[in-house]
Symmetry: D2
Subunit: 188 residues, 4 copies
């Protein structure tokens, strides 16, 4: 009987630490399909018991998707050295159309970024920076891969396979899993 | 007679060094009028003998404006920590709609950036960076104020005058003049 | 008896959720004393029941300070448009001298940044970015003020009070408090 | 006789436009030799008739090297996501030890940046940015490769050749040549 009660207490306690549902949004813009592949890999890495993942293009995102989210990954191709217009626009929409700037409704949610670009060192870092800065404005908490700002793929590197590589998809999956791990710890 | 001929030659020669017409474009996005004030100050600083200035909102820019330009200043307010969507879009339009990416038609033109934002250290640098990176993609040559990345105004600083200050307009005028000086030297 | 056991379980459980000691490191470089003032304000904001704060210049930091830390704030003056050499060096020392790169000993610790500079928009953002990027390399989790990348002070603004202002110290205190709040949630 | 005089005038005139000596400094830090290889390629691309190149590690640079320079390329490996401490220190030394901050002795000189790093998208862009921002502080004029911020090499990319590739050296040579072309136009 005593053990039973203690057991119930521990169960509740365990619930606080690890039993909660985690909602993840993976939002992206993609024209050639490369960023979409990375988005799918992040979603795959995030999935698991007790995790619900919404995988959507930024244009399709609803306010409720973000309200429910514990963690949000945002991805973009590099356009003229920086994040795509569509992705910058979504951040402004979150602020004013969805009202998150005033409501502070994104505060303390976990965020992460990913990007694809043709050239090895021309814009993926700045693209990821632009998205990270945008989400940090809302008081979101930024998580990154070990040794990087986000998950990225170099899709047009000379003497290298075209498109998104296996190694890059693996990096994306790891970032998805890491988002969930941090979101779980952040959730009260 | 001899001196006359030599004089003509020197005149032509002087023309190569300093007598050419300089065309300047000052392009900007503005909602509250603050960035427009900075744009006007850059235009004012650029004006002078032999200088033609086109002062336009980015949405009104024509391909011919940029083709003729020897120097281009681009300005934006800070929106969610980075350049306005309208300004990012114009850079993509220059590349693909106007075809400057393939034509390399902006290469070696002088460029400069300016920004306005409410907070002292939240986004004006990243906004100027985003525009500078965009123009550098085209092989433009970046000039800056001494000790800064561009001309900027802090429009909502606590305990300080609201809007664009006299000191900031002076910084913008100086950048306009500097663009012309470098463009003159760059012009063969 | 039963209630007693359940009580013990709840106590342990409560301990996991909110009763833990939080260790905060506020590390900075300062020459004129401005960044030191901001560091002191972050420390002040972080202090509270169950919180131990180590406030040190980067050169004085010991490996054990960082090992024990749940949250680390790093601050720098702007030197030639970017973080001070002393601050960039400390990040390299954390990696190799203290061995945190291989040990992954900083992973999941909370981090935040702060900066001071004379000019309104010349380097404080890039200085904060440089420090944030350095700490994110280690898998730290970045928290920021609402609407910004870190706490900052503009110390030489024309027509404005010299040095660190009251409003800026308040921003620093809030960031200190926020670091602790997130660190508490992150602590298993 | 008349033609002779005119000829002399044209000769002098031609001298102003294209016959001047161009002095180039290629300064870098290197530990593994990768950045040194890129530096050598930039120097190679810069060399030509009427061009003198000084190729030195940053620690070996003399004030006179920079005073004489018409164009300066600065290169760094990525250390913890950003420029090496040695390279950041050299920028501070140029400012205060060499006195270029007050003398404005670097104003209007051409500058360019290059970087090497193991990972495809982790720090080469930010490293190049840090160096570019540092040199822009002095009123230098930034030139870049078409479609990028500087010349860079990814030295540890998975499934790819280790070290600096042929394509990357070619990009560096082109940047060296471009610096000289712009410096020639800038030289009065």
């Amino acid at each position: 009987m005593r053990l039973q009660l203690a057991g119930i207490a521990l169960l509740l306690c365990g619930g606080i630490a690890s039993g909660q549902e985690i909602n993840v949004v993976v939002a992206y813009h993609s024209q050639t399909g490369n960023t979409e592949k990375m988005a799918a890999a992040i979603a795959e890495g995030a999935r698991g018991e007790g995790v619900t993942v919404v995988l959507k293009k930024v244009a399709a995102l609803a306010q409720a998707d973000l309200e429910k989210a514990d963690a949000v990954a945002l991805g973009s191709p590099v356009h003229m050295g920086d994040a795509a217009v569509e992705v910058r626009r979504t951040l402004v929409d979150w602020a004013y159309e969805f009202g998150f700037w005033r409501s502070r409704g994104l505060e303390n949610k976990v965020c992460a970024v990913f990007a694809t670009g043709a050239a090895p060192s021309n814009g993926k870092e700045f693209t990821m920076l632009s998205m990270a800065l945008g989400m940090l404005q809302f008081g979101m908490v930024l998580v990154t891969p070990y040794g990087g700002l986000g998950a990225s793929a170099t899709t047009g590197i000379p003497e290298h396979e075209k498109g998104v590589g296996a190694h890059e998809l693996e990096e994306a999956r790891k970032l998805g899993a890491r988002m969930v791990a941090v979101a779980r710890r952040m959730k009260e």
